[in-house]
Amino acid sequence: MNLAYIDPGSGSLILQMILGGLAAAAVFMKLFWHRLMVFLRIRKPYEAERASESAESETPAVERRSFERAGEPAGKP
């Protein structure tokens, strides 16, 4: 084991695990929220969103407007 020259503190290490867990939970919640929005047809699945984004960048401005209206997310979680 690679021991540091400073005592990192057991409590401080455990706290980092908890914070890591919270971060993981936040990601999980975001994913869950997104799936719920897709299920309720408020948002499109990630793949479709990405496809429309790349389409937007190649589409002339006039056509893009209609895209935006259709593709506008209802709100961010």
Binding site: N2, A4, S10, G11, L13, L19, A23
Partner: protein, 479 residues
């Protein structure tokens, strides 16, 4: 923790290689000096870490951006005997112009230093490197630009381990910032009294019920303090457990991003500090101010100077004049609010030649730490060749009760040339300070005894009376 170097080595000391007395904690990396050069002896492990760091992209980019000291491997030096087991490699570092300590920085400086530490860690992680500690003493300054000096902090990322430096980051960066941002209490006296920083348990006791809901307090202070107390005596192999549980560097990176957001959100707006409006309401009309500037400028341009100090710098207006012809200017003021403001301005101008520090000359930073050698006195880190003492002696002598001859002796012992301003007893500001004392107090504070004491210690080259003779400027060289 790496020690900043001492730029004020005298010639005899500089001749033989000697260890930096503050660099003993990390056995993989020890700083020493040889002939004025700043060197670092690395152990086998330290040398392998350095190889990985030197190859990384982020390191080269950080050095090029001025965030990390320039460093090269050398083989033309003899390592001092005190380095156990010799050295597998030796590095040479660029010198920073004047060493300073976190207890001399205003709020915004400590915050920028914290952001530099987090930025380096975040970028190091992407290349499977990390920082083994997080000491605010590892950040130094080129003027108002922070620079990371401890190359020995970088190491290869041990897989599955959390960040070893997190606790130290809280003690020496985050908690002092939280203390000042949320409680309005200056962190400098605490850091000066406790080189290890502010423990979560101590800060927790200061947090009110309302504070618990402020950003960062619940996790980094309250939960941290509780876990620390609970696991104080624990001999558990927490690191082993964490590795088994699948701790990954992404979790460190996520924590670093959160800390960065938290630190960015912290700010300190000083309330009515004694001198924060001083610049706007000086004792001079335009003509007087112009003549004072001309007097200082003439002294500054009488020759070129190495290090200059501006004592009682306020908004650092005269520090800027000193910088016209001095290699480096240290701008000192006892009021953290004015130094904070001066720093923000200097930083936004990108100045690298003026270092603003919170320092009260009637109580300058002492030597501190192990054997009294880890942290040096203010003067021990670099004596000025030129010192500006403008509108400051009445504070030192009347508010600070330091006898005028003793103050002048202190300046004389620095060996510095001097531009000093003496407000007479009739000057409104000096009179206001005298009015707070019993009648007849400070009989030594007068023009005649001041001039006598000055002439005993310095060769006065030039004087000029301003403000109807109630303020006199002197340019003097040490006898």
């Amino acid at each position: 923790m790496s020690p900043p170097e001492n730029p004020d080595l005298n010639a005899a000391e500089a001749a033989a290689p000697r260890l930096e007395p503050g660099s003993f904690r990390d056995w993989d990396s020890r700083v020493f000096y040889d002939d004025g050069r700043i060197l670092r002896a690395l152990s086998e492990t330290g040398a392998r870490d350095w190889e990985a760091v030197a190859r990384s992209r982020f390191f080269g980019e950080s050095v090029a951006a001025g965030q990390v000291v320039e460093t090269r491997e050398v083989d033309d030096v003899v390592v001092p005997e005190g380095v156990a087991g010799g050295a597998a490699a030796v590095l040479e570092h660029e010198r920073v112009p004047f060493v300073s300590y976190p207890y001399e920085w205003p709020f915004a400086m400590l915050r920028d230093a914290a952001l530099l530490q987090l930025d380096l860690l975040g970028r190091a992680l992407r290349e499977d490197l990390t920082l083994k500690d997080a000491s605010s003493y590892n950040v130094q300054w080129r003027g108002a630009q922070p620079i990371f000096i401890d190359i020995g902090s970088f190491e290869r990322l041990p897989e599955g381990e959390p960040w070893q430096g997190y606790r130290q980051f809280c003690l020496l960066f985050l908690n002092p910032l939280l203390l000042q941002a949320y409680k309005g209490v200056p962190f400098q006296p605490w850091l000066r009294g406790s080189l290890g920083g502010i423990a979560p348990g101590d800060l927790r006791r200061l947090m009110s019920f309302r504070d618990r809901f402020r950003r960062g307090v619940m996790t980094h202070v309250i939960l941290h303090a509780r876990l620390e107390r609970k696991h104080e005596e624990s001999a558990r192999d927490v690191r082993g457990e964490l590795r088994k549980a699948g701790f990954r560097k992404e979790l460190i990176a996520a924590n670093v991003r959160r800390l960065e957001k938290l630190v960015r959100s912290l700010d300190w707006a000083p309330g009515g500090s004694e001198w924060s409006d001083y610049g706007a309401t000086t004792s001079y009309d335009d003509e007087g101010a112009r003549r004072k500037e001309a007097f200082v400028r003439q002294a500054v341009h009488s020759r070129s100077w190495g290090l200059a100090w501006d004592v009682g710098c306020n908004e650092a207006r005269f520090s800027r004049i000193a910088a016209e012809n001095a290699r480096y200017v240290v701008a000192l003021d006892g009021d953290a609010a004015v130094v904070d403001r001066a720093y923000r301005e200097l930083a936004s101008e990108g100045r690298t030649d003026i270092l603003p520090l919170v320092a009260d000359v009637t109580d300058p930073s002492p030597a501190l730490g192990w054997a009294g050698l880890e942290r040096q006195t203010l003067a021990g880190r670099g004596r000025p060749e030129l010192t500006l003492c403008l509108a400051v002696i009445h504070h030192v002598a009347i508010s600070g009760n330091v006898p005028v001859p003793e103050f002048l002796s202190w300046l004389r012992d620095l060996g510095t040339a001097l531009v000093i301003e003496f407000p007479t007893r009739e000057d409104p500001r000096a009179a206001a300070l005298l009015a707070r004392k019993r009648p007849g107090a400070h009989p030594d504070y007068d023009r005649e005894p001041f001039e006598r004491a000055l002439a005993e210690r310095f060769e006065v080259e030039r004087t000029e009376e301003l403000a109807g003779g109630t303020r006199i400027l002197y340019f003097a060289r040490p006898r």
